[in-house]
Assembly symmetry: C2
Homo-oligomer: 431 residues x 2
């Protein structure tokens, strides 16, 4: 008899099954033990009656500790009162490993205590829910890009040069002769990919050795970066909007249980899932200046400014066309105002900050090489990238999505550290 997973238990109503899992919780009431059993795909209430098993086994179960591993056999019964709607009437139970007293209990633990035990904390309901939602977010993105004919294009992590300087870069020796730097973005490589495959996306870890200690920063985080040949700024904004909506729709469809566990207000997610608000940088400045009189046109928005902006709208907020001088060298100059670039930031609602940054790329050889000079970058280390403008340059655009920030907003968790299995932070590299 093969074992079953709790996720699919409704298919077995009235039948006998074997479940292999762990004790999530136990309470006893006279001649009955109620065992909450988790197997990684779900949780089910198992009922052990003294009349159904030997006295010896019944007594053993009465001392079984949390997270002990067990294999149970029994019959699945629909029961509206049971969490999840089904109950397991246990006929036999084998204890595989009796857990040592489990350190994470129902009482409030400090964040350091939990982060130190991240390998165990992952088993808790909320962490479990965060990462199952993360899974759905990534899957929904993969599905959308596949459906639209994008080629997954794995950009390299080890970079030969630090063309924008070594600040914020992790550096390693590359054998005797060279240094290598950990990638902050796969974009430049994705551009080469777009010229070869038309439509590509990267999905992988990226690194910032930034001394930021905020709830939005990780030193190692995952980025999704589509890049599309012959796409302009407007095309890429539409793609970003379609993608976020596809992700929200998937999560609302597949992760109701997890959203409930997280006590997420799903009405807010539904409200976000309509036509995104779009404003120019110029108009965004006006809104910011209403509450922050010291903000000067031409600056980039700070975290507080972003919160003010995003609180005005129930959808993610698209802000386009920022001043050229605060943006990177590869963004295309706006033909209608050469002080601006054709770029876009998308802010999540509720003060979760920037989740997407993108732009049309400068496809003109002369303007690009001029930008490189203006930014005092090392042109030699960018020659391969400049080649993309020598050999059949085309208009093209792309963006980067920070996976953890998007997941944090969808889950409604305050800190991105809970949205990745093993977060890396300024002061945390363990476990």
């Amino acid at each position: 008899m093969e074992h079953s997973y709790i996720e699919e238990i409704s298919a077995h109503e009235g039948h006998e099954v074997i479940i292999k899992g762990w004790i999530f919780n136990r309470r006893s009431s006279g001649k009955i033990h109620f065992l909450m059993i988790r197997d990684g795909t779900g949780i089910i209430q198992g009922v052990v009656s003294a009349t159904d098993i030997s006295q010896e086994l019944f007594d053993t179960v009465s001392t079984i500790g949390r997270e002990s591993s067990v294999i149970v056999q029994g019959v699945i019964k629909a029961d509206k009162r049971a969490p999840g709607g089904y109950e397991l009437l246990i006929k036999d139970i084998s204890i595989i490993n009796s857990s040592q007293p489990y350190p994470i209990t129902k009482k409030e633990h400090g964040i350091d205590f939990l982060m130190e035990r991240r390998h165990l904390w992952l088993r808790s309901s909320k962490q479990h829910a965060n990462l199952r939602i993360r899974r759905s977010v990534i899957n929904a993105a993969h599905d959308l890009f596949n459906k639209r004919g994008f080629t997954l294009f794995n950009a390299p992590i080890l970079m030969p040069t630090a063309c924008e300087g070594t600040t914020n870069l992790f550096e390693t020796d590359y054998f005797e002769k060279n240094k290598a730097y950990l990638s902050q973005s796969g974009q430049l490589y994705a551009e080469a990919g777009a010229m070869a495959f038309g439509k590509v996306y990267t999905l992988g870890p990226t690194f910032r050795a930034e001394k930021s200690k905020t709830r939005r920063h990780l030193t190692e985080f995952w980025m999704l970066e589509p890049e599309v040949a012959y796409a302009d700024l407007d095309n890429i904004i539409c793609l970003a909007e379609d993608m976020i909506k596809a992700i929200i729709t998937t999560v609302l469809l597949d992760r109701q249980t997890e959203l409930k566990t997280l006590e997420r207000d799903t009405e807010k997610l539904k409200a976000a899932n309509s036509q995104f608000a779009r404003i120019s940088y110029k108009d965004a400045v006006k809104i910011v200046q209403e509450t922050n009189s010291s903000f000067i046109y031409g600056e980039d928005f700070g975290a507080l400014d972003e919160t003010v902006l995003s609180n005005r709208f129930s959808t993610p907020l698209v802000i386009h066309r920022y001043p050229k001088k605060i943006k990177p060298f590869y963004m295309k100059t706006d033909p209608e105002d050469n002080e601006l670039v054709l770029c876009v930031d998308i802010l999540a609602p509720d003060g979760y900050g920037e989740i997407i940054g993108g732009s049309q790329r400068e496809d003109d050889y002369n303007i690009l090489t001029d930008n490189i000079k203006q930014h005092n970058l090392d042109q030699a280390s960018l020659e391969w990238y400049i080649d993309l403008r020598r050999y059949g340059s085309v208009p093209h655009s792309g963006f980067g999505l920070g996976i953890e920030r998007l997941v944090a907003w969808i889950c409604g968790v305050k800190h991105v550290r809970e949205t990745i299995p093993f977060p890396r932070l300024l002061e945390r590299l363990w476990p």
Copy 2:
């Protein structure tokens, strides 16, 4: 009028379309130009007749160079003689960017010349085919694991300790106080994931600072690592076999054009797609010793030995139960022979070498901590991992698949450097 992609061109037979792409090739015959146009999703032959466009435009087209970017408009016509079965009767053509003389021509180029121009080489038919097959390989694996309820679990890249020593590890400063090491495998973290989610898989880059200069080695390569709670060695061998077969089936179905471009003998792939050959290490030694008399029982197989072994079979070859002393500390001791471990290697056919390494993991606290001592590893840096045996330990198993080696075998390319967009090798970190 929206533009169309060549991949879907059959849907537009008899209709007018716009295609945005690049000139892959051009030949002229009196009053007709034949343009091979690529758009990243496919290649189509465009026909430009002097009678259909202005003389000026016709003359311009006659000088248009390879990889110049063009937007063409015309009618799709079925034509059995045309490569791909369709032809585009061009009515209008705009040259977006006239390419500089393209460095990669039809003549034979040296590998250094091509690797130095990897960002352009990606546009060539064979490289294009390799990476489209790579895309299908990864998608097929994602699909299988999703269908089977696995949770995608991104293991960290930055590791706090080098528990097996720093040889072959890339090292970086982690802010002022610490060192970090780039991950060689996500397995230990995936084990924590399996205890939380039952079934997980990681997919991400891994790193080996190995001074190997062979056709099978990259310093940065992608690994897929499933890990399953309550699975034994046999379960995980079946999973690996199912996965490879699902991948071969997908590639044979979706990538006929690419396999043809690569001149891959698909009969060999079909032959590989049946019940995998399975032998024990002991039996494998006997085969190796037939041709390599100096091979001693207890050693690991070298590349030549692997070729001898894989050439005996038309399917991938499963070799199980190696001597404990040549395998890592985390592998479970075989209860039937404590000199062996419950592990598995899978070799690709045709001498492509090991593509999968896996094992049942040691789930016994005492044996595991004893192994750690025997291997002279730093137990303190593994305490979190040992915790998985303190709190509800269960039998569990997993494996790692090297994406590039599998793609190399499926594509029939000799060197793994052609199976990843921007390969990193002992002597190559550029572009």
